[in-house]
Symmetry: C2
Subunit: 230 residues, 2 copies
Amino acid sequence: MSEQKKALVLFSGGVDSTTCLGLAIDRFGRENVIPLSIYYGQKHTKEVDAARAVLQHYHIEGITLDLTEMFAFSNSSLLVHSDDDIPMESYDEQLKKTNGTPVSTYVPFRNGLFLSAAASIALSKECSYIYYGAHADDAAGSAYPDCSPEFNTAMNTAIYEGSGKQLSIIAPFVGMPKSEIVKLGLTLKVPYELTWSCYSGGDVPCGTCGTCIDRQRAFEINGVTDPALA
Amino acid sequence: MSEQKKALVLFSGGVDSTTCLGLAIDRFGRENVIPLSIYYGQKHTKEVDAARAVLQHYHIEGITLDLTEMFAFSNSSLLVHSDDDIPMESYDEQLKKTNGTPVSTYVPFRNGLFLSAAASIALSKECSYIYYGAHADDAAGSAYPDCSPEFNTAMNTAIYEGSGKQLSIIAPFVGMPKSEIVKLGLTLKVPYELTWSCYSGGDVPCGTCGTCIDRQRAFEINGVTDPALA
């Protein structure tokens, strides 16, 4: 047995987490990487199909976890039991209306819960790291406070101390805008054509929700057409 | 509507969390307190019965959550799917054998997961506080690293920042040994005769597991016989 360390990757099938998975596979080798996909009652399931396709591409098996019950009391517009529509505008425009509080697609403490679940499973599977694709844009203007650097730093300490110093979070994109993540992913040949980001439930990306807008910009900055739109 | 704040209490039906519930009810009034009980595949269910009896005593309804699936990969001796027996000795004796790593009843990152689940539900239910009965003895000698002051401080920051500064953890017993918790609970008339702490599955407490030993000592120091043994 080698001393090769293992990493668990929080993996949704979107641009950020797929780049994160590509990076972890590049660093540790795919036999030492465990992707964890968490279902939590999102309105659409295209993301789940995308995640499956990406795992097939990398010839790797993942773990899935269903946390729907946990969010039964949330009224987030992202969840299937909510009557509120997902806003069709950029995060900047949404934040002007929320007066600095989280946007309506914020799912209460979602990333804290995801990282805690990841920590528990990572410890059971003897991983040393959790890879996690949080990045700078998400936290901008407090749209998603559970993506902020302050949150990530504290959560990393909580996981390190609470695991008996056996486990650390690696969030390689925390200082990066999405365009730099895509830039890195293009060098790693991440299969972006298989990923899915749109918050609406259509067969093709809507192009008008907050995540669609963010994603298209990130590819444009790199002089590339978003392969999901090609 | 008054401006009265609300608190969610992590509540298992044991000595610490029942005292915590009694304290929260004393501070906020029972109409502003939401007890959250989490089932996670423990070997016995006496604790669940105890929790129900305590809630009836206080005339208060609680929320229950089942996280069994989350710990499917854990080999903790506390869990029903584990083949390992729960050790029948004090934590000091157990730690001599584990060489400073967590004891076999440690459930990986359990308290991080519980606090994250509590944070999510507390936000959905518009609570300002999570009350949580972690205390000094639990963390002693690294038996349970997810009870340590370092973990609690970091997790509190993670929840405060990740909730958009809407929610804080209150862990009133963090600096206290169990005997002081019992001392406080006796003044609050906490119904200790209804609580359950033993890690074995018998009809009466075994008196020999780590938690039974801790509990009996805590009452003895206060010059009282443990009412669960009376």
